[in-house]
């Protein structure tokens, strides 16, 4: 079971090369299949996650959640997806048409590009980039532009205000998010994600970096615009924030991208802090799925437990608490590494 997917890939490339294709072309076809897998993972995950989110919120709020369509309401999201697919396409007259159309495409593209470097199992990475962590951080920073595009082009006060708030919040929390990963990089001594996973074969980095993990988790919640940091799309004030004017498939793409980002950020958390795909008995790709889903469950738990935080508190929390804490964590980690060396523990 362990090397199931690797074996499939190897057999496939072997077969393609036996047909007379060169190694580059075999790689190219394999990449297309890998992309199809990522697209599948993204779509299926979103369908499962929306159902899970509804069930979890129902459970927390003593409701049933979806329960009519299929067993435990499992087909509810599929029905929703079909509904969104068949909705009329409305572009309001006053919008900035081209930017309005490009924004969802840009958002989902950026979100899917993140999956390129995530190790989804032992040796199961599309590209094992030597600057993998930095790639993840840089690409993730681009989603602010997509939100600004959506908010600006909608020509709607809710949209623009929502987008501006979103972006102000995201840039504020991006710094603690990045800084919290630096502690892990200092210990692992590499930006390559496979090296970071390998460095955790004995002890997970969450043991050495508990503060960084908590900082990462809080900053990631804000970065994803999820509750209790969902000020930008506070339903009672801004209807749906930057997405107010979007309907049908365009809106679905935004939703898809949001959950795609959620999966990517959670997978990154398990890779950086929870040992990635490493674990006993079960195959590696199953371990990363389990860890990612546990983290996503905690994200949902937090979202449905805490009330929304006020905008001014939200901004000052990032700059006045998280940023100093994450910087202090870097310094403490540096000193700690020297203490460890001095004591001869590593």
């Amino acid at each position: 079971m362990e090397s199931l997917f690797l074996d499939i890939a190897q057999t496939l490339t072997g077969w393609l090369q036996s047909l007379g294709l060169s190694a580059v072309w075999a790689d190219f076809i394999l990449l297309i299949i890998q992309f199809a897998c990522v697209a599948g993972i993204v779509t299926i995950n979103v369908i499962i996650l929306i159902w899970l989110e509804r069930k979890v919120s129902g459970f927390i709020q003593l409701r049933l959640g979806p329960n009519r369509l299929g067993p435990w309401g499992a087909f509810q999201t599929i029905a929703d997806a079909i509904k969104l697919l068949t909705k009329e396409d409305i572009i309001p007259t006053r919008t900035d048409k081209w930017i309005f159309r490009t924004a969802p495409l840009f958002f989902i593209t950026v979100a899917m590009m993140l999956y390129l470097v995530i190790p989804m199992g032992d040796g199961m990475q599309i590209v094992d980039l030597n600057i993998g962590v930095f790639y993840f951080i840089s690409l993730a920073s681009l989603s602010t532009i997509a939100l600004l595009m959506a908010g600006w082009s909608s020509n709607n006060k809710w949209s623009l205000l929502g987008a501006m708030r979103s972006v102000a919040q995201m840039i504020s929390y991006e710094i603690p998010l990045t800084f919290s990963l630096l502690g892990v990089i200092m210990i692992a001594g590499s930006l390559r994600l496979s090296d970071i996973v390998a460095a955790q074969s004995n002890i997970w980095f969450i043991v050495f970096q508990p503060v960084a993990f908590i900082t990462y988790f809080i900053a990631a919640t804000a970065e994803l615009n999820r509750g209790p940091f969902d000020m930008p799309e506070a339903e009672q004030e801004l209807t749906a924030g930057a997405y107010t004017e979007y309907t049908g498939m365009r809106w679905a793409l935004f939703f898809l991208a949001e959950y795609t980002n959620l999966v990517a950020v959670s997978a990154m958390a398990s890779t950086m802090f929870l040992g990635g795909w490493q674990g006993p008995w079960l195959p590696s790709w199953l371990w990363i799925i389990i860890k990612t889903y546990i983290i996503m469950f905690v994200f949902m738990w937090i979202k449905w437990t805490f009330p929304r935080i006020r905008m001014d508190h939200l901004m000052s929390f990032s700059w006045k608490v998280l940023l100093p804490v994450s910087l202090a964590n870097i310094v403490v980690t540096g000193v700690g590494i020297y203490v460890f060396k001095w004591m001869g523990w590593c």
Binding site: D96, I99, L129, N130, I131, F134, Y135, I137, S138, L139, S141, L142, T144, I145, L148, M149, W152, M164, V167, I171, L191
Partner: protein, 168 residues
Amino acid sequence: MNLSDLVFIVTALITVTAAVGVVGFKNIVHSALSLVLSFLGVAALYFQLQAGFLGLVQILVYAGAVSVLIIFAIMLVMDKDPDESNRSHAKQKYWGGLIALLVTLGLGAAIGSTIWPQSSGSLPEDSVGALATLLLGDYVVAFEVAALLLLVAVVGAIILAKGAGEHD
């Protein structure tokens, strides 16, 4: 012409077209978004030169941070019809065109007359590590001066923005 040349030409064309769009668009937000595309094109060019770290810095700092700053600055002063916000005056257009032409010619002459040394060595395996060694070793003064520069930039901009706020 092989495939990598073709990729280079396409990326360069996108980058230059986007840069022209920055000047040409009537709506200044369109110009700003065009600038983002241009930044991303430059990042793609860095990737083609195997300078991955530099390309990602370009994405993180320019496309992800500078463009947000530019758009927020636009939103700070937006008080006209956005479709008229990036008007170009006829006189400026000619002078601008002339200067652009001169710069292009000057740079072209400089590039043409330089003999580019070609290193026979292979690409460094760990470019980020090499960068760190250089930055904190030989170029440590420049490195600390960069921090001072950032400090001055933050302080100066806060003073400017505060001043603007008081006049409201």
